[in-house]
Symmetry: C2
Subunit: 218 residues, 2 copies
Amino acid sequence: MDFFDVVDTQRAIRRLRPDPVSDDLVERVLAAATRAPSARGAEPWAFVVVRKPELRAAIGRHYRQAWEAAERFTAQADADRDLKHTPHYARMMRGAAELSRTIGVAPVLIVCCLDHTRLGPIADGAGGLRSPAAAYASIFPAVQNLLLAARALGLGTTLTTLHRAFESDLRALLALPDTLEPVALVPLGHPQDRFGPTRRRPLEDVAFLDQYGTPLKR
Amino acid sequence: MDFFDVVDTQRAIRRLRPDPVSDDLVERVLAAATRAPSARGAEPWAFVVVRKPELRAAIGRHYRQAWEAAERFTAQADADRDLKHTPHYARMMRGAAELSRTIGVAPVLIVCCLDHTRLGPIADGAGGLRSPAAAYASIFPAVQNLLLAARALGLGTTLTTLHRAFESDLRALLALPDTLEPVALVPLGHPQDRFGPTRRRPLEDVAFLDQYGTPLKR
């Protein structure tokens, strides 16, 4: 597929068909992830491909509980007051709620991890990060490559981070060492929904020339 | 260009020609950035395209000082002991050192910012982040789209984060409000160097099946 056709139509696919995904497709998607840049060229990442039904089901149960807790928190704090009346948000949240009930039966879950042992001076040596931005700059480009490669192959994904609410359980399930930080949980499968084109805020709202506030386009 | 040709050959291009980059190319690259996913679909980003020679020169001076300070810190702490004897690292560091002297004359600098006002419950409302990983998961995919789109158009880039060392100066130069966090400084231009293919650790070293340590490939 043409690069711009991929990038302009990659969007969250939250409803996946149960059909299996071949090893070849998973490996091509992961190989694309590893082409991403990273600080010091250190490739500070690891990917756990979860296929075993019992593991996916266990992750799914934790995910659903975390979703319900997050819904309660958001409602109590009115934390989505900025978006909750927009049509795209309501639609997205319906999809995300459905995903919280079905993620455990997605054919593949990919847990993307940041490897703190490969961060050099970016890690503080005591489990913390001297520069969180520089650290995450060395893993989310790889995650985005993964999402784009999946779309190029006709596979659906969505980038989720809700596993942070049950991180210790996830660590135990996947035997993750303390030095690996799981930063994204990506369900992967053949899509039920269509790909984009995606809708976005116009460039005029987000791009500026030389100083913030000066329009790029005239 | 074919998607996989782009993703497999995108690499840091640290030596740029002084030739100008057209507005059309810059806008296409930024439009690709905005197709990325983000938490809550909130698109929490802003991009400042720095073209003005005086601004680029000022950023270049700060960048060079920050590079020299970082070199001293790394040498004192021996913070690159894990990599410093590998050939790829020495080559990369020579390129990065050269960039520190020339970044101010790159034809375009793109400052990629995370907009804290659009993070909802991910921000703590006091300038901090309740979940740094979820926040940066909403900006570095956009930065990666930008790098890939540039490569698809034959333009060179590299993802840098050294501006964090002179963030207050950068904020003043670009009139960034407190709510915008500059997370990446990306020089953009026509390349002097060739694109990939990139070399990476083999998938066997970084991809696992069901649990960390179990090989994906057999």
